[in-house]
């Protein structure tokens, strides 16, 4: 906490605002002090001196409101003078009112100097000022009542507390200022990165396209460019998702995870998602992804390394459906049943078993359109 720079603009802005509030409080306690003294004017041994003391308090209040308003005027001398004057006003009370008085001349007016010190020098300032006022008050009293004790006790804890809170508010203001700056810089960097990334993506796509057309070694170059294009696009999408909000570790965004499969080979995978996050519990998501991968591996094994596969993610509200389809010749009817009868637990059985464990289903359809696994899990 010591590394907070209290002369940072954000910290000073906080101090300025608090002193403006204190100026209002100053007026309130001054009006209160003057009013009470007029009400109890018969208690004074030397009424003329009382008028002089109260006049000084009024003049000082006006001056202090002006002086505290500006950071450059809040110097040591001002705060010391403020405290000295408040203590003097207290100490003069027995001389003006005579021994055995009840209320001091300034009364609650002394609280503002404690707060002024607390705002400027934080909890240390609050503690010093409240100690000075308390000692002054105790020294002039011939008898010490419970009420006096209560008032002084509140003052003693109020000073440091207000000081401490000022410190915390200033610290937060400085931190927020720093964070806002960092966020602005990050936004700008992200904007620049987007422009650069788009340019890079364009070039990679172009190399891929032209490479394929020229053929030969250039085609290989094009294929590499294509892979990098997919990798970069995925990275950007993941980054954007991360900027939006990091989901808790107990959940997983299926859309984002499935997007990572795009361009994966073999087989050549094509991913379609709803375009927004599809958040599921982490263990469900991980298992579902593993099953989808198993389906894809199966495609590569049975249809071929050059096969194409499509993955579709749907969020139906109460269920999440992942479909994996390939463009192969399909599975001849009876083949799966035959495998099961032979006691071989094929891939199909393993996929269905894993989905059952998740409380979901795995439906297989096959035909001239290829083979399609529809993996459904409840939310």
């Amino acid at each position: 906490m010591s590394d907070t720079n209290y002369s940072a603009p954000a910290a000073i802005a906080v101090e300025d605002r608090l002193y403006r509030a204190l100026a209002v409080l100053r007026v309130v306690v001054t009006v209160n002090a003057v009013g009470l003294n007029i009400f109890r004017r018969d208690n004074f041994d030397h009424p003329n001196w009382a008028v002089v003391v109260i006049g000084c308090m009024l003049a000082w209040t006006a001056f202090a409101i002006w002086a505290y308003a500006e950071r450059s005027r809040r110097v040591l001398a001002l705060l010391v003078a403020d405290l000295a004057l408040a203590a003097t006003a207290l100490l003069l009370t027995p001389l003006v009112k005579g021994e055995g008085f009840n209320a001091t001349i300034p009364g609650y007016w002394v609280m503002v100097v404690v707060l002024a010190w607390a705002l400027h020098w934080r909890w240390v300032g609050g503690l010093i000022a409240s100690t000075v006022i308390t000692v002054s008050d105790v020294s002039i009293r011939s008898d010490f009542s419970q009420t006096n004790y209560g008032n002084l006790f509140l003052l003693m804890i109020g000073g440091p507390i207000v000081g401490y809170m000022t410190q915390q508010v200033q610290r937060m203001a400085v931190e927020r200022d720093r964070a806002e700056r960092a966020a602005a810089a990050a936004d700008e960097r992200a904007r620049l990165a987007r422009v650069v990334h788009d340019g890079v993506l364009q070039v990679l796509a172009l190399v891929q396209r032209r490479g394929a057309e020229i053929g030969g070694e250039t085609a290989e170059l094009g294929r590499l460019a294509g892979e990098q294009e997919v990798a970069l696009r995925t990275l950007i999408r993941r980054h954007d998702a991360g900027l939006r909000e990091l989901p808790e570790a107990v959940t997983l965004d299926l859309a984002e995870q499935l997007d990572l499969l795009e361009g994966h080979r073999p087989p050549h995978v094509n991913v379609a998602t709803p375009g927004t996050s599809v958040v599921v519990p982490a263990h469900v998501g991980t298992e579902l992804l593993a099953v989808a991968r198993a389906c894809l591996d199966n495609v590569a094994r049975h249809v071929g390394e050059d096969a194409s596969a499509w993955v579709l993610l749907e969020d139906l509200g109460d269920t999440v459906v992942v479909t994996v389809r390939d463009d192969g010749p399909g599975i001849p009817s009876g083949r799966l049943e035959q495998a099961a009868r032979d006691g071989r637990l094929g891939v199909a059985e393993s996929i269905q078993g894993r989905m059952r464990d998740l409380g979901g289903t795995a439906d297989l359809s096959t035909g001239s359109f290829g083979t399609e696994w529809e993996l459904t899990v409840p939310r």
Partner: protein, 213 residues
Amino acid sequence: MVVDDHPMWRDAVERDLQAAGLEVVGVAANGQEALARFPAARPNVVVLDLQIPAPNGVEVTAEIVRQDPSVRVLILSASGEQSDVLDAVKAGATGYLVKSASREELLTAVRRVSQGDTVFTPGLAGLVLGEYRRLSDGPEKTDDGTPQLTERETEVLKMVAKGMSYKQIAERLVLSHRTVQNHVQNTLRKLQLHNRVQLTRYAIEQGLDADDD
């Protein structure tokens, strides 16, 4: 007309289109140029990159479709910013292709779009499906203006998202090729119509139509 801020891409696409016997009536490097040249060039098809200097591809799509409802917009996008693609489609684009598509795919897409067909990638079909689900789950569920897919349309769109060709879909559902095409087109048309209604409603609410009187 080809709109792309990347000169190499612009030239490559232009060259491919010309080599295939198509006439390129104009090119533009940014949104402003595109809007300035569009009225004079009067293209049938605009091949549009989404990431162009302002106004962006979505705004350009909305504006040129407003000026000439018969124009066809084919989005050719590198980064595949999903929400942008969806916005462009809602604004009136009828085709979407990623830049990594081959020359043949591009030419086929341009031809099909020019014939009034819609060109869906599986990715776009997934987005559109997701958009309809979001609309029906949204707070305006009771609003009878919210577009909804028929069961058949959902079925067809799902198959497109699973990478099936119209021909395969037609076979699997025992429909004609044309019917499948119509179903797919309807899904976009409803979304575009809804978008226009929303914009108009917004304009009326904001008092933007006040200069009529």
